[in-house]
Amino acid sequence: MDAIEKNLLLQIADLHDVPAGAYNIRENGKGVARANTPNIEIVTKTDKPGIDIFIKPGTKNESVHIPVMITQTGLTDMVYNDFYVGEDSDVLIVAGCGIHNSGCEPSRHDGIHTFHVGKNARMKYVEKHYGEGSGEGERILNPDTIIELDEGAVCELDTSQIKGVSSTKRYTKVTCGKNSELVITEKLLTHDSQEAVSEMDIFLKGEGARARIISRSVAQDRSSQIFYPRVTGECACFGHVQCDAIIMGDAKVRAIPEITADDVNAQLIHEAAIGRIAGDQIMKMMTLGLTEQQAEEMILGGFLK
């Protein structure tokens, strides 16, 4: 790997080199490295671009890394990844896409990730998006995440897009079975004239299903963001949507949390707040010896941590 690739890998997967455990590294539309473990098998799809990841029932404390890197300007990469997380397993899946575009043409990655999380399995899915490069070409990421949680499954979805992505359209759909639990934490920072749209459909279908959706975002400069999380409770269940945004400069933020109860026992809550950094927050940090800029960075860093 060269220095650009190593930096992308570090940004999107916190990896300094190839990861331990199972992994599949995709670069400029092609798989470049792969490792399986006795419990985790990665198979290339034959009908369309992408991979199937099979995690055996009962697999504990293992991880799968599937980073995608794009360093070629003008490339559009479309990929379908299907995960089969076996019953009673407990795994960490780290995905992410880093684009280094130093040319003038747009570089784009559209990923459709589908997860089938088995009975009583626990899955943590971490996804980071990052863009860099000196070129004028746009860096575009449009991920779709489709998750089915079986009875008693627990899913923690942790997504972040912190820097350099010109345009993103994210769609997440989760179907929650009986006594399953879902926690989505979405963190987003847009700057310059970037645009980000995140839509979600969460269906609480099984009795006792619980979902918490937490969105924290910062919109700087002339960037714009739209959040549209929708939670539907179809039985005795609990859902909580929380959108919290800091707006700066000439940015625009639109948050539309929507909750729908189709059952008298569904308990659903939504909250949304958009505001600037309060003057007294900056002032407090300055009294601790930080400059105004350091104070702002500290406040934003904490907010998106």
Partner: protein, 239 residues
């Protein structure tokens, strides 16, 4: 040594022009404990904020250890050794108590060090270090964390704006002990805005501020009994 000469603070609003401070002269020797007291709206907080630089001076000078800081920024004054505990501290989503203590001290503190600062305000580190300084904390908790950050800064001049407000009796007792210890060990100059008898009793110097002016100032042992004798009815010290 803090020297304030003819300090004025003038505020212009849409409706009116207000003189909040109308010529304050005050000298506080290093290591002393000065308590600023007086009726609400008299200018105490504005005086404290003007020393920290949060409110700009419209006239006069502020010298810290001989250096003119009147036109220095808040950050510069903080780095020169002034700290300020807000009467109503702000909250921060995502920032933990430990993060604030680290920023305040300017270095990564050990758990034991954090613990020592929190204990001084009656908080247990195990319960609080990893908590976010957000709306989940009560007013009294945020206030005590605020005071702990000032202790962690270890500044030469610590300014506390009504540290007792919103704090329970037990924590307040702990806090007065902490002020007493700082004072006895001559670690810092303390300027405390307060109306509390127990804090007034600690003062080397009591300054009564009202209507934007110092109405009376003098040694604690002289002014304190006057205040205590006259707390019924209208305060005779305020003409």
């Amino acid at each position: 040594m803090l020297q304030i000469r003819d300090l004025h603070v003038h505020v212009r609003t849409d409706k009116e022009d207000l003189d909040i401070l109308k010529g304050i002269d005050l000298s506080v020797e290093s290591g002393k404990l000065v308590v600023i007291t007086g009726p609400n709206g008299g200018g105490k907080t504005t005086l404290a904020k003007a020393i920290m630089g949060i409110v700009p001076a419209s006239g006069g000078t502020i010298l810290l250890n001989g250096e003119d800081i009147t036109h220095k920024s808040v950050t510069e004054r903080a780095r020169l050794g002034i700290s300020y505990g807000f009467q109503q501290p702000p909250r921060f989503k995502g920032i933990k108590v430990a993060d604030l203590l680290n920023v305040a001290s300017g270095k990564e503190l050990s758990r034991d060090e954090c613990c020592s600062y929190l204990t001084k305000v009656g908080l247990c580190a195990n319960d609080y270090l990893d908590r976010e300084v957000d709306a989940s904390l009560s007013g009294g908790e945020v206030k005590r964390i605020e005071i702990a950050t000032i202790l962690a800064r270890r500044s030469g001049l610590m300014i506390y704006d009504e540290p007792e407000a919103g704090i329970d009796l037990w924590s307040f007792s702990k806090l007065t002990e902490t002020f007493k210890t700082i004072h006895e060990t001559n670690d810092a100059t303390l300027m405390i805005i307060s109306h509390q008898e127990r804090i007034l009793q600690l003062a080397d110097l009591i300054v009564l501020v009202s209507d934007g002016r110092i109405q009376r100032s003098g040694p604690g042992e002289e002014i304190f009994p006057e205040i205590m004798n006259q707390t019924e009815g209208q305060c005779p010290l305020v003409s």
